[in-house]
């Protein structure tokens, strides 16, 4: 009973940095502007992060929204563990908290936030989880990194950085709140193996 995802993103210094701390901040700031522009303000917005790092990013995104428009957008987290389609292929995963803001999600514009968009399966699970909680007017997706290789017809509405990668490479997102530093690294096959 251990969390397979908790050890992934803590590599100290392997690979090369593709986003620095400043890049991460700028990306979030731009995404905040994009969301407000697209939504014509902050009305009815609800930001939900997918634990662990998506939740951290969600809180930062809400802070960035507040810096632009001086609004307090409701923020929460949405755990997708129970909705994954690969549960039986992997060892037990621990469930993470789901915290839905008081206002609920019915008729809201929900912005899902995750760190890396890859196969799209996590987002598929998130859409199912969201459907059991309520019926949003619209669901949008914001990710820090889109690394390609989609296995489902899913795309992000807001992307911090498009990062073309090979299947064998690995993208490590580190965030200050979870890992002590802000950066995104990319590791090639040998670096993944040698870690």
């Amino acid at each position: 009973m251990q969390r397979p995802d908790s050890q992934n993103n803590n590599a100290p210094s392997a690979g090369r940095v593709v986003l620095s701390a400043d890049d991460v901040t700028r990306a979030l700031r731009r995404i905040a502007h994009e969301i407000l522009e697209h939504n014509r303000g902050a009305d009815d917005l609800v930001v939900l992060g997918i634990p662990t790092r998506g939740e951290t990013l969600a809180h930062r995104l809400v802070a960035a929204l507040a810096a632009v428009e001086d609004v307090a957008v409701p923020v929460g987290s949405l755990d997708v563990t129970m909705y994954r389609d690969d549960l039986r292929r992997q060892p037990m995963r621990a469930a993470q908290p789901t915290r839905i803001p008081e206002c609920g999600v019915d008729d809201k514009v929900v912005v899902l936030v995750d760190d890396v968009l890859y196969s799209g399966r996590t987002v598929r699970a998130a859409l199912d989880a969201l459907g059991d909680i309520g019926r949003p007017r619209a669901v949008r997706l914001a990710v820090l990194v889109d690394r390609g290789h989609r296995e489902l017809p899913i795309r992000a509405d807001h992307v911090g950085k498009n990062l073309p990668t090979a299947h064998s490479e690995r993208v490590h997102v580190r965030l200050f709140e979870d890992d002590g530093a802000d950066e995104v690294r990319i590791l090639d096959q040998e670096e993944v193996a040698g870690r």
């Binding site: 009973m1 755990d79 292929r89 060892p91 908290p97 199912d128 059991d132």
Partner: protein
């Protein structure tokens, strides 16, 4: 984790993780759609050789809320009443291709036996006077929600210890979580060899309820199991209540933030008075509502991952 047969199967990290998952499951009960797709396509059989309301129905609900297919088999109305043996019954059910088997049986050790005969994951839902690990988990869960971390907390378990399967599982689990446990019973209901149950400092037994009552953070009252009693264990019910019941008078002598548990079903007026059962300190209804969440967590941990 393949089976859950005894509270001793779980180390502290596993207990904490089970309880953390139970917390997530608990929030589901406030939702309009109380269903997760997690165990879709898995089949769970509740095999109950003894009567039960809350354990059986909460396992059934737990399985259904996780989208498993749940079948209930009780001894009455099954081939057990035609004389089928435990082994044949278990293997017959297992031959239908099930993933999990929840079993309650009057004989201590029956789930352990069954676990060796079938491929499915086996959950002990109470075996004789031996163990009832999911009850201990939900008790710990309910206590933690009310009083926080149990490390160093003093839990006093009072009543019919000889016939209780709850007490042994609770003792093991509470000690795993670092609590001090004192067992209280009249001499006739104190199990023989009870001193050998634990050799840690945080374990004591006494015949004197009033001596330990003021220091208890949790008072857990156990049911007097009349159906298992064939001899005279105490002269009159009245006398039992005076010595070991949680009366109005004792209620007032409890520590300020102390709470009351009872695994149910209660004999009101015998081991617990209505004042105590319905007081603000009572977690008894909370125990029932936690039952489903805790059992969902157990089923998820046993059946949710890859078969390894």
């Amino acid at each position: 984790m393949k089976h859950l047969l005894s509270a001793a199967d779980l180390d502290k990290d596993q207990v904490l993780e089970l309880l953390a998952t139970a917390e997530q499951m608990h929030e589901l009960q406030d939702r309009e759609v109380k269903k997760l797709p997690t165990l879709r396509g898995r089949t769970l059989v509740n095999l109950f050789f003894e009567d039960s309301t809350r354990t059986r129905s909460s396992f059934e609900l737990a399985g259904k809320w996780l989208s498993a297919d749940v079948v209930n088999v009780s001894a009455k109305g099954s081939s057990v009443s035609k004389g089928e043996s435990l082994r044949d019954t278990a293997q017959t059910v297992a031959a239908m291709g099930i993933d999990g088997l929840v079993i309650r049986h009057p004989a201590s050790g029956a789930p352990h036996q069954v676990a060796q005969w079938v491929d499915a994951s086996v959950v002990n839902a109470g075996d004789g006077t031996h163990e009832h690990p999911t009850q201990a988990l939900l008790d710990a869960y309910t206590m933690r929600r009310q009083i926080g971390d149990l490390a160093g907390a003093h839990v006093v378990i009072v009543g019919d210890l000889t016939h209780s399967r709850v007490v042994r599982s609770n003792l093991i689990l509470l000690q795993t979580l670092g609590a001090r446990v004192t067992l209280v019973a009249p001499p006739t209901l104190m199990p023989s060899g009870v001193q050998s149950w634990s050799d840690t400092d945080g374990f004591a037994t006494t015949y004197d309820f009033d001596e330990v009552l003021p220091t208890a953070d949790v008072v857990m009252m156990l049911r007097v199991q009349k159906e298992r009693m064939s001899g005279g264990f105490f002269p009159t019910p009245r006398e039992y209540t005076v010595g070991y019941g949680l009366t109005r008078d004792r209620l007032q002598r409890m520590a300020k933030d102390a709470v009351i548990c009872h695994p149910g079903p209660m004999n009101r007026g015998l081991e617990i008075t209505a004042d105590a059962a319905d007081s603000a300190r009572s977690l008894i209804l909370g125990q029932v509502s936690s039952g489903v969440a805790v059992r969902m967590s157990v089923l998820y941990h046993l059946l949710g991952g890859a078969n390894v």
